[in-house]
């Protein structure tokens, strides 16, 4: 059995990990920047509506209930994490019911979120 010094492999592993971390750190800001650009363009159209709603809400000073995530939002949150996006029109409503049961188990999704995603997919499946 080859006698490997524990220090040398540790140094090379450390070097490798650091270089990978550097690469990821370099890519991450690029990703953040490009994503934020896209978000800014989207928020420009929403800003006047938000300002108006802010003015309204300041008058009432009532705490609005926390916004529930919609089916589309939950779908984009959970259903792109592991695999490319699957379109609602790819399956029938009955098939989506079966697949969501499988995904709820596989991805350990909360029941209520799973039902909301299912409704979104069924409503948009068109069949």
């Amino acid at each position: 059995m080859k006698n490997i010094s524990p220090i040398r492999p540790f140094k090379s592993r450390l070097r490798t990990a650091l270089s990978l971390a550097v690469v990821s750190a370099a890519l991450a800001p690029i990703a953040l920047l490009t994503a934020e650009e896209a978000d800014k363009q989207a928020s420009k159209t929403e800003k006047p509506a938000e300002q108006k709603s802010e003015a309204d809400s300041s008058k009432t000073k009532a705490k609005a209930p926390p916004k529930q995530l919609s089916g589309a939002e939950l779908y984009s949150m959970h259903c792109n994490r592991c695999h490319p996006e699957r379109y609602p029109t790819e399956r029938t409503a009955a098939q989506w019911k079966t697949i969501l049961l499988h995904m709820r188990v596989r991805a350990n999704l909360p029941a209520e979120q799973s039902r909301t995603i299912l409704k979104y997919l069924q409503d948009n499946s068109g069949r």
Binding site: M1, K2, I4, P9, S12, R13, T16, A17, L20, V23, S24, L27, A28, I30, A31, L32, T34, A35, E37, A38, P66, K67, Q68, L69, E73, L74, S76, M77, N80, R81, C82, H83, P84, E85, R86, Y87, R91, T92, A93, A94, Q95, K97, T98, I99, L101, H102, R104, V105, R106, A107, N108, L109, P110, A111, E112, Q113, Q122, S125, R127
Partner: protein, 460 residues
């Protein structure tokens, strides 16, 4: 008629004579008076003749009318008769039809109820096939390049109701027969087969040949889901599946999507290939409950137990981080003298729809008769960036994703392997991926050599 006219003539002559005869007694009539009388009689006779003729004609006409009337009467009677006959026939026909309908109703089964279109959303059972297939061209340094069917992995899903799902996955692999034998072998592996029962919103019971939640790779990254054609090196240190039962679920932490998910399970666990406690005999996936001598028994005295806890924190869609910690421990040798244990830390990060990083650190340790405590370990980290994030207006480029991975493994027996993988994915569609990568190996194992792989991967 003739009698009447004759009588009228006689009466006329008699009247004429009666007028003439008293004159004889009184005095004699002259010729002029006689001629006038004669003319008068003649005219009266003519008139009478004409009247007779008219009477004759009228009588004739009346006779003809009577005849026509009689014929009409006859025709009417005939028509009446015909109508009666037709009515009778109609009655008989209607009776016949009604008899036939009755007989038909008795002889022919009732028409099936009209089909009501199914409400697909509420169909209470459904069978679906998902899965993936991978086709490769690979060239390993020092070997010939080759095409191969890397994997065909169908997944069968059967939903029986709202709370029960049976799911099973297979791997079909082609392999050459041993040197000296021609032909090929088709290997079918049952990668998982489990019955899932949703007990309530927070607890699901699953039993069967389970995909084990040691890290997230087995459950969420294998096959088509993996962006690089082969598995990370340290995944070989832990079992991907095991026969047993588990409870799993998720608890939401607030309305923003944050959640805690958990899995607790018991499985037969790793075993010894030859029954001994020698390090080389460790078998991670062979203890399925039915022995080769048909005995139904665990190979060792006690099953293994394990669990995973994960925390998922989304900031907004496509921005999230997940951290998980999992482990398993139990006997592995037949005598029950040694434990096999593993601990896995997993993490994933998404920054937008175009960037992700994920990885695992895997550490296992087990006792052995010959080599004492052995501690294999390894880790891998993988990053991917979709060029679409650069917002370049180039359609072909926008379908490209660059992927790179670093993985390393130490088997605890002196063999270390490090690999750098640089690769890409070209998304021909959302389900058809054209992947390629080059793998740089640094290993004390001489069989591990650099290679490149092209893969066509289809998820269905």
């Amino acid at each position: 008629m003739k009698t009447r006219s004759f009588a009228l003539r006689c009466a006329a002559v008699g009247c004429a004579l009666a007028v003439a005869l008293p004159g004889r007694t009184a005095a004699a009539i002259d010729d002029q008076q006689f001629n006038e009388l004669k003319d008068l009689v003649t005219k009266l006779s003519q008139k009478i003749d004409k009247q007779d003729q008219r009477i004759e004609q009228l009588e004739k006409t009346h006779g003809q009318d009577a005849q026509v009337h009689s014929q009409d009467q006859k025709t009417h009677e005939q028509d009446q008769q015909k109508i009666q006959e037709l009515e009778q026939k109609l009655g008989e026909t209607q009776k016949t039809i009604s008899d036939v309908q009755q007989k038909a109703a008795m002889a022919v089964p009732a028409e099936p109820l009209p089909r009501v279109p199914l409400d697909e959303a509420t169909v209470n059972h459904n069978f679906s096939i998902l899965g993936d297939a991978e086709f490769q061209y690979a060239k390993t340094s020092g070997q010939h390049g080759t095409f191969l069917l890397a994997d065909f992995a169908p997944i069968f899903l059967y939903r029986g109701g709202d709370k029960v799902l049976f799911e099973a996955g297979f791997d079909f692999i082609l392999q050459n027969n041993a040197p000296g034998s021609s032909g090929r072998t088709t290997t079918v592996n049952l990668s998982f087969a489990q019955l899932d029962y949703l007990m309530n919103d927070y607890v699901t019971l699953a039993a069967g040949n389970l995909l084990l939640p040691l890290g997230t790779y087995s459950e969420r990254s294998a096959g088509w889901l993996n962006k690089i054609p082969d598995d990370p090196l340290p995944r070989g240190l832990v079992p991907g599946s095991g026969v047993g039962a588990e409870l799993r679920g998720a608890v939401p932490l607030g309305p923003a999507g944050k959640m805690l998910n958990y899995t607790v399970y018991g499985v037969n666990g790793p075993s010894s290939a030859d029954g001994t406690g020698n390090a080389s005999a460790l078998d991670l996936g062979g203890n399925v409950g039915l022995r080769s001598d048909n005995a139904i028994a665990n190979l060792h005295g006690n099953p293994s137990g394990g669990a995973r806890v994960g925390l998922f924190m989304p900031f907004r869609p496509h921005y999230d981080v997940e951290l998980g910690l999992s482990g398993q421990s139990g006997e592995w040798d037949d005598a029950g003298q040694h434990l096999w244990s593993a601990a896995v830390a997993d993490a994933s990060l998404h920054l937008g729809a175009n960037f992700e990083v994920k990885g695992e650190y895997i550490h296992s340790w087990y006792g052995s008769d010959d080599l004492g405590e052995i501690s294999p370990n390894g880790w891998w980290v993988q990053a991917g960036y979709k060029v679409a994030g650069l917002n370049l207006d180039l359609p072909l480029i926008n379908n490209l994703e660059f992927v790179n991975r670093y993985d390393t493994m130490h088997d605890g027996l002196g063999t270390r392997t490090r690999r750098y993988t640089l690769g890409y994915i070209y998304y021909l569609s959302n389900t058809l991926l054209f992947e390629g990568d080059y793998e740089f190996f640094r290993s004390t194992d001489p069989t591990q050599r650099n290679r490149f792989v092209f893969q066509l991967s289809y998820g269905f």
